[in-house]
Subunit: 251 residues, 2 copies
Amino acid sequence: MHSIVIVGSGNLATQLAIQLKKNKFLIKQVYSRNLNNAKALASLLNTQFTDNLSKLFDADLIIIATKDSAIEEVLTKINSTSIVHTSGTTSLDIFKNRFKNYGVIYPVQTFKKNIEIDFSKIPICVEASNKSFLSDLISLSKKLSEKVIEIDSHQRKKIHLAAVFSCNFTNYLFTIAYEILENENIDFSILHPLIQKSINNLKTNQPNRIQTGPAQRKDLNIINEHINLMKSKEYLEIYKLITNYIIKRNE
Amino acid sequence: MHSIVIVGSGNLATQLAIQLKKNKFLIKQVYSRNLNNAKALASLLNTQFTDNLSKLFDADLIIIATKDSAIEEVLTKINSTSIVHTSGTTSLDIFKNRFKNYGVIYPVQTFKKNIEIDFSKIPICVEASNKSFLSDLISLSKKLSEKVIEIDSHQRKKIHLAAVFSCNFTNYLFTIAYEILENENIDFSILHPLIQKSINNLKTNQPNRIQTGPAQRKDLNIINEHINLMKSKEYLEIYKLITNYIIKRNE
């Protein structure tokens, strides 16, 4: 596979296209339903652009890097031999009975249009409709990253679910922590070294083995003091629910 | 202040004593109720040790770095002019009417006995019973860290509470993510780059401004799919509670 058409012009589409071009793939064309976005990405890649799906060029591979909810509609308008999407949650089956070779290339990372990112350490999950296409997708992905893994649609959904707990929900806990400190005029950065240390520990340990804190010690004095410090129903509900589960696991 | 007695031989006591010694303070003695622990830390510091609080040496400062529940008992057996504890949650008032100069030195970090840590970036929260002692504690702390902040007992408790949300509870969410992946025979390290990226983003942004994910987008299709993927009552309760609060904030 050498020539590629990119469908989409968002964060992932942009960063993936940049990396593919860097690795000597030929990006023949960029599609976006918004012509200005298509034009902007195409000019970055020095290539062609369109906002009309019926005018897609022939290419060895079409990569759909739109949001999940747009994939189905885009598919119905595309004729191609080989096609992939890049979603963590959309099943491989969405392509079934429509294309000869179809698959998924899912990089486990978040992206920003204007922040270039080193792909070499980003895990790329690959799935395909047949062995020969799988091997094509693996060799393409290996040009971008050292960590290419064969993952089926069910596993991919579980990875996405785990990412929601690990990143979206943790960020929400950081939001609560931020607000607790903001109320006392304390800058959230006071917690940065502690948070980074916890993440460093996570890289070399199973998380259940490095659980610390009052719930883990079942320190009911501190827990009650914390409960009395909070007025927000929301903080209290989350504090109590997680604290109780941590305590329960140690019983 | 030059000469110091350390009460305690745990993770924080050990790392704090090492840093103080490195910075030319004289650690005169180490106390632990467990003689072997006292001896081990003293030998690391090349100093004296005891397991008897009535035999503490005179020193410019006594630092109590025991666990919270031991502080009260330890205090009743100590005579000293100047004393501090190192706790995030115990109030300054615990020293009241017992000592001339008393205070708190609370480093916002977790420690391990056998892993030396660079103190220079660790925020140290300082509180004292009088201005002159406060200034002594600040100058001592500034020899260890670039980030010394005056923080009262109430604020200190809020910092500790925020740390529980940011580190203990997030680690619990990592435990759940670990288990979700383990069930599919997928190594948790697949999420390391994504988690590190989220933390990097946190260092330069307010957490509420970088919230992403299906709850933030109110993507009910994905949320329902996730709910159907989970069988554990625990995972479901936590997933639904946090998801609903994220959705509610955007309404």
